[in-house]
């Protein structure tokens, strides 16, 4: 656990991590996670997003859902910065086994090896898994 920090009003700021492990359109998890992140952003906590396993596909460039009659929500990841959600981590092993590189993502990310990702998870106060 980290040392607790205070925000300007004296409230406690906790470290929240959202762990995303599902591809974007086959199930509802990715969209649900994104909506929770946007709503929770109003509470001004220390938020980070981890993309692991098929979760890395959520932020793949070039998504075009016009042929499948579903909303393409991938542009919304680019709005996260304006919600002060700036820590996006991608697991290196997950990225590489899917033939992806950092250039394939539509937002700037920090690529972490599995061990570093595990350490990062240990540092959190609250982990929400999708």
């Amino acid at each position: 656990m980290s040392d607790e920090m205070m925000d300007e009003e004296g409230g406690v700021v906790k470290k929240f991590m959202y762990v995303n492990r599902k591809a974007p359109y086959g199930t509802i998890y990715a969209l649900e996670s994104l909506e929770v992140v946007l709503i929770a952003a109003a509470f001004e906590q220390d938020v980070s997003l981890a993309f692991i396993d098929d979760g890395v596909y959520q932020i793949k460039k070039g998504q075009d859902t016009s042929g499948i009659d579903m909303k393409n929500f991938s542009p919304t990841y680019r709005a996260l910065e304006m919600y002060d959600v700036e820590k996006l981590y991608v697991e290196k092993e997950s990225m590489e086994e899917r033939g992806l590189t950092e250039e394939d993502f539509l937002v700037p990310v920090e690529v972490l090896g599995r061990q570093d990702m595990a350490d990062m998870m240990e540092e959190q106060d609250i982990i929400l898994s999708f």
Binding site: Y25, G26, Q63, R98, G99
Partner: protein
């Protein structure tokens, strides 16, 4: 012959492996929904997909691939992209369909 369909990512579920171990020579596999992630070049599954293609014709549902950001140039050579009409035709041209869910 059978048309096999796969709608799960090979990285998430073992559906792909189970399917290819049941697909007989001359049958076809159509990858749909999250199954389309198997058709990308450069993934850990590329070798397995190419091995499968020696005996089985592999198709991908184009709109599902596009939705997931997989453009034609990143699809393994020899995999044929079909649209919804093509999907229906494949269904009609095979004796039966096995959907691996």
């Amino acid at each position: 012959m059978l048309l096999h369909t796969i709608n799960k990512s090979p990285f998430d579920k073992n559906t792909f492996d189970i399917c290819i171990s049941h697909a007989k020579k001359g049958s076809s596999i159509l990858l749909i929904e999250d199954g389309v992630y198997a058709v990308m070049k450069g993934t850990a599954y590329e070798g397995k997909v190419k091995d499968t293609m020696k005996d089985v014709k592999v198709y991908v549902l184009g709109p599902d691939a596009k939705a997931r950001g997989i453009d034609d140039s990143s699809i393994i050579d020899g995999i044929e992209s079909v649209d919804y009409v093509g999907f229906v035709e494949l269904t009609a041209n095979h004796d039966s369909v096995q959907s691996w869910l």
